[in-house]
Symmetry: C2
Subunit: 311 residues, 2 copies
Amino acid sequence: MSGFRDLIPHALDGDRRALAKLLSIVERGSAETYQLLAELFPRGGQAHVIGITGPPGAGKSTLVNELIGQARAHDHQVAALLVDPSSPFSGGAILGDRIRMQDRVSDTGVYARSMASRGQLGGISEAAPKAVVVLDAVGFPVVLLETVGVGQAEVDIVESAHTTLVVLNPGWGDSIQAAKAGLLEIGDVFVVNKADRAGVESTVADLNHMLHDGPERAWTPPVLSTVATRSEGIAGLWDAIDDHRAFLTGDEADRLAARRADREIRRAISELLERRAREQIDDAALAEAVDGVVARRTDPWTAAGRLMGSG
Amino acid sequence: MSGFRDLIPHALDGDRRALAKLLSIVERGSAETYQLLAELFPRGGQAHVIGITGPPGAGKSTLVNELIGQARAHDHQVAALLVDPSSPFSGGAILGDRIRMQDRVSDTGVYARSMASRGQLGGISEAAPKAVVVLDAVGFPVVLLETVGVGQAEVDIVESAHTTLVVLNPGWGDSIQAAKAGLLEIGDVFVVNKADRAGVESTVADLNHMLHDGPERAWTPPVLSTVATRSEGIAGLWDAIDDHRAFLTGDEADRLAARRADREIRRAISELLERRAREQIDDAALAEAVDGVVARRTDPWTAAGRLMGSG
């Protein structure tokens, strides 16, 4: 296998196989990952990263496919990353989404990849922003970052985007669920997809009502309707994304960039500490602590303090 | 405010206000929390903790209400904890669920509480297992632990349960989504709720197929149908939960207890390290690192290493 330093110039030249290898390094999360990121991070900062989240079944993948089409129509190269918390157990079932993305496979201006969690806890929310760093550095002006569900891990992931789309469907239930999942705060643009179904007007109205209910914000998220399967409303959605990108300039852009950097550093610290802890834990001492907790001689938190040298 | 040591005897005597105060301490996560847990953890270990997860709108709350009824019919005291990643912004919208739980408020054998995330990252998945320790210690033989969504945080939470119910609805889409969300591995009992809708047979068949597709396991999760709003299938569900509880004896129980303890200690270690890092980070140095990352002079991972003294 070639080292990542040899791969970088090829990936920068548009070699998709070299790019894929770099992304695999980032996904594995070995020590090499950090050298690679240190090398690539300074080259980035140009991409507009669009996060797409919402409940399963809302039609996010179809919408992403349409947004890829819009990006291409505007002559932008585009990368799409599907962040997928699937597992070996369910490997077959999720192929459907990937295949739809592969419709675009013959267009060299499009690069699509799905990232699976491989069952490591927290692994995917650590790997996804790193993959975005790579895609940004090699020069994609548009990066689409789609999550499968709406959990905290997914919210963490889309927070690294510049513009976040929250995709819902008609039906009051959905907007309550969006509120429950904390999606109202993270969306910059709301999309009521499958707008050919009943209840679209009231869902749009409810969302507008809830979005205006909170503290006043510099940007009030628009609520749009689409029927992604029939390409309806997609051009308007692209315009709304563009409006948000235009909004992200000057002081606002600086403020958001600082917030994102702060969050990224804090997450990198957590990741570093986790890695150190894994290296530091003594297997025999851990086994003994497990016995103690099972027998209820000690509690997990006291045991953790002892293992980490503070008890 | 009285100290937690004064509250414990009252909570053990069944004083619900004292219990509520203990749970609030745990939710706040102050230093007192760990003393409280060290005190209470050795008293626990008797409760059967039942996790309930599944996509928003699957009918989990209604099902929990029915399970509370079953527990009461079998003369068990029961605590129900709704783990709710809501936010101030959406506070009003989620009241519906809580109100339904309050139907039971006049029954002193039932204690219901919802825990919100208050926007702290990871806060809720840290607090929920601690709340279970408290409910277990004060003597509830049955603890129901319901999550709102199906993200990684929720999966983490239900992993602390003894028996995990995965609640889905009729429709092939749902079972694919369950696979995507990694729910197939974590469920001990699968419930296809709203079984008065079309497609229930095929969803049950699909789930059975997928559950038998993986590696052979000592316990094969049953797939049951319910219509929680009409109390249909609930007695059978209770029996299935009871079967799983009976299965969890001897070697199997020891194995699972050790696995749970191992996981709890590791999570406690992460939590401890996060806390230490928060205390350790120098604000001025962090602000400087943020500037460096914004200007792309350095990347977040290198910056984290420097802040934590390794670069």
